[in-house]
């Protein structure tokens, strides 16, 4: 059943550009980019059981790095993009050393505080980052001979990257390493006794998740042509959290569903009212109260009820 759904989704994603307006296509592109962001958080949250309130840190660092290099050094895609990923990986490697010493609520506070440092730098270092105004004017790149100037090419490029990210996630969570992460989520002590290096597993997952978040951040810069401190803010971090929870933590494609839902809602609601943050807050409250296992969880509960 799930496989069939995935196939239908894949066909739709490939065929849709011919049926959508350029505005709708842009929205779909944004959904895919944020799906990668949510999936990256899901790797540590859903599989390894490590919550983070600062996941925007890696998204934003990659975004700023790619943007700055593209504006000031060279529009070479491979260089700017790779630098963004590397910057995100280094940031995650540093933050992971500090954050993974803590657990539970401390982990939440520390990841938030560390991300907020970067937000503070982006906000305060005006000469480099443009401060609150951000950095506009980043153009869509050419990937080798492939120019991404128009919406459809850019969409397909994002779709390719998204598919690669899904494939990578699939490989990781099916691998012995991914299985060990789930074991650590369920009982870190037991895994320790079994001889697993729990800290190292968590750390590798943390850095990988940060790098993937960086991937989405670099893509989003090209999508928006703009970067601002908001990319590093707690609102972005928490948005990734709610995408993961809403779609279903610990499932491969749940976060993509969550991303599609939130991006769609943001867009639909912002068209009618300026009170999007109020609605977003209500979404947090409602999901936490009524759908703590996400939409997939609701679906499964319903199926189970039907079977009985």
């Amino acid at each position: 059943m799930t496989r069939g759904l995935a196939l239908v989704a894949a066909v739709l994603l490939i065929a849709l550009p011919w049926g959508l307006s350029s505005y709708q296509l842009g929205l779909l592109t944004k959904m895919l980019i944020f799906a990668v962001f949510a999936m990256s958080l899901n790797l540590i949250l859903g599989y390894a059981g490590l919550p983070s309130l600062g996941h925007a840190a890696y998204f934003g660092v990659a975004a700023y790095t790619t943007a700055l290099l593209s504006l000031r050094l060279t529009p070479n895609f491979w260089l700017d993009f790779a630098a963004g990923l590397i910057a995100a990986a280094i940031t995650a490697a540093l933050f992971g050393l500090l954050a993974l010493r803590a657990q539970g609520s401390y982990l939440l506070m520390i990841t938030l505080a560390l991300a907020q440092v970067l937000w503070g730098i982006a906000f305060g270092w005006r000469s480099l980052t443009g401060g609150d105004d951000g950095l506009p004017g980043i153009t869509r790149p050419a990937v080798g001979p492939w120019r991404l100037g128009d919406g459809i090419s850019f969409y397909y490029f994002i779709l390719v990257v998204f598919s690669l990210a899904v494939a990578l996630m699939w490989l990781v969570v099916r691998s012995p390493f991914g299985r060990a992460l789930v074991g650590i989520r369920e009982s870190a002590r037991r895994m320790e006794v079994l001889g697993y290096n729990v800290w190292l597993h968590k750390y590798v997952a943390f850095v990988l998740a940060g790098t993937l978040a960086g991937l989405s951040g670099a893509l989003f810069v090209y999508y928006n042509g703009f970067v601002s401190p908001a990319y590093l803010s707690i609102v972005f971090s928490a948005m990734a959290l709610i995408m993961v929870i809403l779609g279903g933590a610990g499932t491969l494609l749940g976060p993509a569903v969550g991303s599609a839902a939130i991006v769609f809602l943001e867009n639909a609601i912002s068209a009618y009212t300026e009170r999007w943050l109020l609605i977003l807050g209500l979404i947090y409250v409602v999901v936490t109260l009524f759908a703590p296992a996400g939409l997939l969880g609701l679906l499964r509960a319903r199926q189970a009820a039907v079977r009985m």
Binding site: L45, P51, L53, L97, L98, R101, A102, G104, S105, Y106, L108, M109, I110, L112, A113, L114, Q116, V117, G120, I121, G124, W125, I234, V235, A238, L241, I242, I245, R275, L277, L278, L280, G281, L282, I283, Y284, V285, V287, T288, L289, P292
Partner: protein, 285 residues
Amino acid sequence: MTFWTIQVLNGLSFGMLLFLLAAGLSLIYGLMRILNLAHGSYYILGAYVGLSVLHATASFALATVAAVALVVALGVVMERFVLRRLPQHEELPQALMTFGILLIVGDVSLWIWGGTPTQLPKPEGLSSSVRFAGMIFPSYRLFVIAVGIVVGLALWIFQERTRLGAMIRAAIDDAEIARATGINVSLLSTGVFALGAALAALGGIIGGPLVGVYPGADFEILLLAFVVVIIGGLGSLKGALFGGLLVGLLDTFGKVLFPGLAMFTIFAPMAIILALRPTGLFGAR
């Protein structure tokens, strides 16, 4: 000389303000293991409500009472009717829920009070300065420090010297055993939540004239309170006081000495303490 004395005073008064906020955050965590992200909302709500009542009545006492009462009501409703429905001892649902409330209160405040940064006026009689030993001290800063000391002492006496305080300590140590000895932990939890909310609202009223109130102040204050409890340790009053004063001084001197790098003067010590003691200087476990 005067310049540095004033800076110390600024740092201490800001530190006392942070103590008021971190103490509530810390008490609530200590008893219920709830990381309340909506604590930042209590601050701005306290400040905004105080501001409105002050405009209407020109009475500081009335403004304080109204702000504290409203924020306490919000805290009690949150604790009784929302947070209790969530699974116990799972930090993520609590974090999402309280973050949602933080967003809601923030956006509703923006709706009601607008986006212009505002400062509460200082109470009459505290807007001037005091001369002592040939130096001039702004009296409002002294007043904030005094309030911090009084609140700190009162909390300490309450926790260490009263029956209720002993019950709270017992419940913090082991809620199950405390319940078995007949302590009403449920009511106690609501009480502590109300106390924490009251302290944050008081922080909003008192901090209003110092740091002002504006959209985003909830996030900023919450973040600083986090840094305080990361340094001092969650669940420890002593940690909240020590951490508050340290962060207050570091922030003030950081802004004076290294204006561009003020964030680092707070976060570098935080990172060091984290590396050495992941549960803070006074935190248990």
